[in-house]
Structure formats: structure tokens, C-alpha cells
């Protein structure tokens, strides 16, 4: 994959969030969550439904303001200087944000311009991204007429088209068939070479195949942080990622 190679920044921290707190009404959804992400790292955010994963991701992308805590994207404070910070983010929410009446290419070009890409660079970015996401065969079609799997891929494409430093994917492989899941996992791995990726998922096999590091959330708190390999051998035996995930979440009150 011919991507412009970035200078040696493999240890650069692209995203750091400190003690994020967020409540809706009197319900505290996220409490004291801290995340650190380095360039070239893929972080898996695990947890049961309602654990606060999506809320955390919304805060990391500036869609939701935290009650307290701080977020830095590539060293820029997201809360104080949102505009420059956000141009480094690519975000795929739970429901892909697609204008169904637009064509795939038109929509991707719009997404690229929206993130501040120069119009001269857009055409190339669109053709490269459609190729990477396997959208070439549908690039002229109207988004509303595509199947769920293709729509999901367009959703991923809009998140990566501007080559952001931080890519946040909320359940990226939901609704895809097995071969598409494999393609998307390969793509995420590839993205992880140059950018940092956070993804949330319920599929533990996905964590195993793409993530370098895992954090587990429960009731709005981080209860586990470690490498994927460490999670797999958490209880002493190797390759027990699923059993260990259940054990960790059940150990907590």
C-alpha cells in the first residue's frame, strides 16, 4: 500500500484523554476514563451494552462535551481549540452518518472537503479510499440504494478519507458478511500502521486479530488495560480471550 510514509513518529502520542466524566441527568455514564494512544497502535474498547463505550467515543470526537476531564489530539486541546484538533479525527459512529440521496463519490468528496482537504487533492483521495474500502464497483451509485454492508463501508471510507491521525470506529464490522469482515479487519490493521485507531466491538475474535491493546469498560469505568496478548493469557493459560473477558467483567461488582 503506497501511503506517504510519515517521519519516524512511532512513539508519538496522538490521543490522550484524562479522567473523562460524563452524566446524562443524574445517571453517570462515564466516570474517570483515561486513554492514551500512540501512533501506530490499534486499541480495542470492549464492554457490555451500555458500558459507556459509545459515549466515550462521542467525547473523543468532539460530538459531546465531557463534564470534566481533558482531551488532547496530537497535542491540541480538543475542548479549547476544537477546530484544529478535529481535523485530525476520523469518526464512524454507531449508525454511519450518510446522506442517502447523494452518490458514493459525491458524498466522499464532500466528507473530504468537510475535513479541510484541498479541492485539488480530493479526487485522488476519493479514488484511493474507494479502492481501499472495496467500493469501486458502487462508486457511482446512490448511497440509499446500497446494501447495509456497502453502506457500512462508505461509513468507514468517510472516516479515513482525509488520512486522520486518530480514527475512531464504533463497531465497524457490524452488519458485514464474513468475507467483508476479513477485508475490513485487514484494512484496520493497515490503517494502524500510520494512524492510531480506537474501535469498539463485541466480537472478541476481532480484538484478537486486529488490536494491539485492549481496554475493558464496565458501568462507565475502565476495569482492564493491557495488551491483547496479556488479556489472552490473563488467567495463566494461553488463548483464553473470551473466558478471560467474561471473568474480568464478572469479577467487578
Amino acid at each position: 500500500m503506497a501511503l506517504p510514509t510519515l517521519s519516524d513518529t512511532s512513539t508519538e502520542t496522538t490521543l490522550s484523554a484524562r479522567s473523562l466524566v460524563r452524566s446524562f441527568g443524574s445517571r453517570r455514564i462515564v466516570q474517570d476514563v483515561s486513554l492514551q494512544l500512540k501512533r501506530g497502535e490499534v486499541l480495542g474498547l470492549l464492554g457490555h451494552n451500555g458500558a459507556g463505550k459509545s459515549t466515550t467515543m462521542q467525547m473523543l470526537t468532539g460530538c459531546l462535551l465531557p463534564d470534566s476531564g481533558s482531551i488532547e489530539i496530537c497535542g491540541i486541546d480538543l475542548l479549547r481549540r476544537p477546530l484544529p484538533a478535529k481535523s485530525h479525527i476520523g469518526y464512524l459512529p454507531e449508525t454511519p452518518p450518510l446522506y442517502r440521496e447523494l452518490g458514493v463519490n459525491d458524498f466522499l468528496a464532500f466528507a473530504a472537503r468537510l475535513r479541510g482537504m484541498k479541492s485539488s487533492a480530493v479526487a485522488e483521495a476519493v479514488s484511493e479510499t474507494t479502492r481501499r474500502c472495496g467500493l469501486e464497483s458502487v462508486s457511482k451509485k446512490i448511497i440509499g440504494t446500497l446494501s447495509k454492508g456497502y453502506q457500512q463501508r462508505v461509513g468507514i471510507a468517510q472516516a479515513i478519507i482525509h488520512k486522520p491521525d486518530v480514527i475512531v470506529l464504533d463497531e465497524p464490522t457490524v452488519g458485514l458478511d464474513p468475507s467483508q469482515i476479513r477485508d475490513i479487519r485487514n484494512l484496520i490493521r493497515e490503517l494502524g500502521d500510520h494512524s492510531s485507531v480506537i474501535l469498539s466491538t463485541h466480537l472478541l475474535a476481532e480484538v484478537e486479530s486486529v488490536c494491539d491493546r485492549v481496554q475493558i469498560m464496565q458501568h462507565g469505568k475502565l476495569i482492564y488495560d493491557g495488551t491483547t496478548a496479556a488479556l489472552a493469557s490473563y488467567g495463566g493459560e494461553p488463548n483464553q480471550i473470551e473466558a478471560n473477558f467474561i471473568r474480568i467483567t464478572e469479577e467487578q461488582p
Binding site: C63, L65, I89, P97, Y99, L114
Partner: protein, 247 residues
């Protein structure tokens, strides 16, 4: 960025077939008004010719047509503004804008100018139609221009108000009914207030259009339109910002 969002808005409108149907249907309605006015004028023309200071063809045909259009737009604009933000919310496309490097002002102004441009396209048939009269007679260009300017400012008011109502809800239908109720309410309060100095007259956009309609450029009316639009645009920006606070 504002231009980009405005163009997206226009593009989305023009890729839906129903928009073209609406354009055609409204053009038909506008033409109907125009022809009805023209016919009425031709019937009374012999009597007018005997008067010393008779109203010209522009005042007799164009001004009433513009007045009717202004009233019609009051009902129509909420149908267009309803989807602006409410539909983004319902289709969950708002995160795309919220996570992009855009401020609330960009989002609101992009949508505002996008729809205003569309409505300008929608109504540009009217002056073209009226100018066909120039084939047979001389027109009062000043009166035409003041009407067009007034109509533009009035439409901006309607759009700003509709945009704000649309930002309050995730149901386009509620946004449409809400904006319609407010606009019609302001208008009804205006025409039913009998006192000459009633504050309802001052609050109604349509009342401020009246001076433009007679060819009078009143800076007070222009200031009202600008303030009215700005107030609702600021409220809409505030609402978008609150989206980040309350989710």
C-alpha cells in the same frame, strides 16, 4: 466551509425528484396568480385610463403578485426548513458535522444560505414572468427592485425562524408545524390588532414587507429583517452547541 455546506444542501435538494416536482407545481401556481392579476388589470384598464394619476402597470400587477407570493412563502418555507436540522438528527448524520472541524456558526449559516439560494431559484421565475410585461409597456424598475429586495429579506426571516425550530426537534413534521404556527400566528396577531401602534404590527415580518411592496425602502424595516434573522440564527447556533452539552 459555509459555501461547502450550502452547496451540499442544494445538491441534496436537487437530487431528489420531489424537489423538481415542487418547483414545477409552484411555478404553475405563481403563473396562475400572475395571469389572474393581468386579466383583472386588462378589464379595468379603460377606467384607469380616464383617471388623472392612475396606478401604473407595475403597481397594479407586480405589487399585488409580490404580496401574494410573500403570503404564500410564509406557508411554504416551513416545509423546506423542517428537514434542515431535524432530519439530520433523525437520520443520525449530525455526528458527521459535529466531529468535523466546523463551528456551530458554520453549520447554521451553511444551511441558511443553502436554503436561501434554493428559494431564490424557486422564486426567480416571478420577476422573469413580470418582465414579460416589458414587451408591451414600460415598467417601474425601482418598484420591482424594492419588491425583490423585500421578498429576499422576508424569505431570510422565514428561513432563520424555520431553521431554529428545526434545530429544536428530531421530527421534521413537528418542525414544520411549529414554524408554520409561529409565522401564521405572528401574521394573524398583526392583522387582528386594530390599534395603530399595537406592538404586534412591529413584530410581524409581513407587516414590514408592506413598505417594500409600495416601493418604499425604509431603513427601519431593513433593520427589522436583519435583526429578526440574526436573532434566530444565533438561537439556532446556540441550540447546535447545546447538542454537544446535552447529547
Amino acid at each position: 466551509m459555509i459555501k461547502l455546506l450550502a452547496l451540499r444542501e442544494l445538491r441534496s435538494l436537487f437530487t431528489t425528484p420531489s424537489t423538481w416536482f415542487i418547483l414545477a407545481a409552484l411555478q404553475f401556481v405563481f403563473a396562475w396568480f400572475f395571469l389572474a392579476r393581468l386579466e383583472a388589470f386588462l378589464q379595468i384598464q379603460p377606467q384607469l385610463a380616464q383617471l388623472a394619476n392612475a396606478p401604473g402597470v407595475t403597481a397594479a400587477i407586480a405589487a399585488p403578485v409580490f404580496n401574494t407570493i410573500a403570503l404564500l412563502l410564509m406557508m411554504l418555507v416551513p416545509m423546506f426548513t423542517m428537514r434542515l436540522i431535524a432530519e439530520e438528527r433523525r437520520n443520525q448524520t449530525l455526528p458527521l458535522l459535529l466531529s468535523a472541524p466546523l463551528s456551530s456558526a458554520h453549520i447554521v449559516l451553511g444551511k441558511f444560505f443553502g436554503l436561501l439560494a434554493f428559494l431564490a431559484i424557486l422564486t426567480c421565475g416571478i420577476p422573469l414572468m413580470l418582465y414579460t410585461l416589458a414587451l408591451g409597456t414600460a415598467l417601474d424598475h425601482g418598484l420591482m427592485l424594492s419588491n425583490l429586495l423585500g421578498l429576499l429579506l422576508l424569505t431570510a426571516c422565514y428561513v432563520a425562524l424555520g431553521l431554529y425550530i428545526s434545530a429544536l426537534t428530531s421530527q421534521p413534521v413537528i418542525a414544520a408545524i411549529g414554524a408554520l404556527a409561529l409565522l401564521v400566528g405572528l401574521w394573524l396577531a398583526d392583522i387582528s390588532a386594530t390599534a395603530e401602534d399595537s406592538p404586534w404590527h412591529a413584530l410581524s415580518p409581513l407587516n414590514h414587507f408592506a413598505s417594500f411592496n409600495t416601493g418604499l425602502l425604509d431603513s427601519g424595516d431593513i433593520a427589522f429583517f436583519v435583526l429578526f434573522s440574526t436573532a434566530f440564527l444565533l438561537l439556532a447556533m446556540r441550540r447546535i452547541h447545546n447538542n454537544r452539552i446535552y447529547g
